[in-house]
Subunit: 225 residues, 2 copies
């Protein structure tokens, strides 16, 4: 029996897993490619072949949010892209700050992929006096971390990236939470703790390398995604 939810309708938060939302982002990127190639419609089967995924999974992921497809036809590429951008909240400018103006923080501030996807890096934050007042190569200013709360309030910062050494990460996370930023992308080793209502995503280089090392050591076999 068809779900009588209209496309774009909000869904109960608990029911959508992070695995699903990550795949939505992958679908979106693929659809944007198809759109540039002037392809009008795509079936879950074709999309699944592109992405090496199961077609039923794609249909199920999309069906959480509405009935976007047309039976016998598939999905309209441009339309589905627009829906996915809206579902993912990518239909508006998102402002990002990076805490830690070391090599990694600076590199991330200048990463062209951010801007291309609608993320704007408005500032770097650090504690080192000789860094404060400077800018990244592309001109992102480095500010004193003491100013984070004020800047976040003034500029409506959506996401904070943590790119500091491990021993500073928890205190940085607390400053971010105090600044009322509700989403954190953490590149520091070791998970940071944040209260409910603040989403933390860990990108731990060390853990990923260890997992590759295990594969090499044990001769396991597999593929991520």
């Amino acid at each position: 029996m068809p779900v009588k939810r209209r496309p774009g309708t909000r869904v109960e938060p608990e029911s959508v897993s992070e695995l699903t939302t990550e795949r939505l982002s992958v679908y979106l990127r693929c659809l944007e490619g198809l759109d540039r190639a002037r392809i009008k419609t795509v079936s879950s089967r074709t999309l699944a072949e592109h992405l090496h995924l199961n077609p039923a999974q794609i249909r199920k992921d999309l069906a959480y949010f509405g009935e976007f497809g047309v039976r016998g036809v598939g999905y309209y590429v441009t339309e589905l892209s627009r829906h996915l951008r809206q579902i993912l909240g990518l239909d508006r400018r998102l402002s990002v700050v990076i805490v830690g103006a070391g090599n990694l923080g600076m590199a991330l501030a200048d990463y062209p992929g951010f801007r291309r996807e609608g993320f704007e890096v408005i500032a770097l934050f650090d504690t080192a006096p000789h860094k404060i007042g400077g800018t990244s190569r592309s001109g992102v200013p480095v500010l004193d971390i003491a100013e984070l709360k004020e800047v976040a309030a003034r500029e409506h910062v959506d996401i904070a990236v943590i790119a500091v050494p491990a021993d500073a990460s928890q205190s940085v996370a607390e400053s971010i939470v105090a600044a009322e930023i509700r989403a954190i992308l953490n590149f520091s080793p070791g998970a940071v703790r944040a209260p409910d209502g603040v989403k933390v995503k860990n990108m731990d280089l060390t853990v990923s390398l260890a997992s590759l090392s295990f594969y090499l050591a044990q001769g396991t076999n597999g593929q991520t995604r």
Copy 2:
């Protein structure tokens, strides 16, 4: 009934999931901290409290590889660290190359966490003539990607990191596979395809940010790890 497997014994590859191996790396880091604090033994409960995990999960993860614990006592910290390092293949020097000597590649080459965990970045590779022949700030040489195969054979490279723009990532992946490197950490957007026997781990910034954006847009609530 006790498993009659001795500690350190190899396990059937298929039975250990990537989620488990990633947690092993987290356990190891935590144990190293306890070891530095001169703590001799730790129970799965205590470890679980540190890491905000379930104690049964920790016991189960460890039990895949042997019986490391002592009933009534817990685990000997130093001994378990040593076992985990061996299981993860971190008991030896691992050599890493980075393909793509842009901002991100350079930053990764100089990332101190690599060396600290026993990974040695031996070279960067790029195609841009003005980059080739130079070095990163910490002195990692930038070589021509045409030399990758030769260097990999000579230096026994374990892991390759992809840090190039999306449109180059698949061809870079093919060069890496041709160089007989069997583990890839991919920072490019879009999953790269590699044959069986080559492990790919994707660290897709765009996907992670989109997932945070979804959380902000929908007001979902959760915590990674």
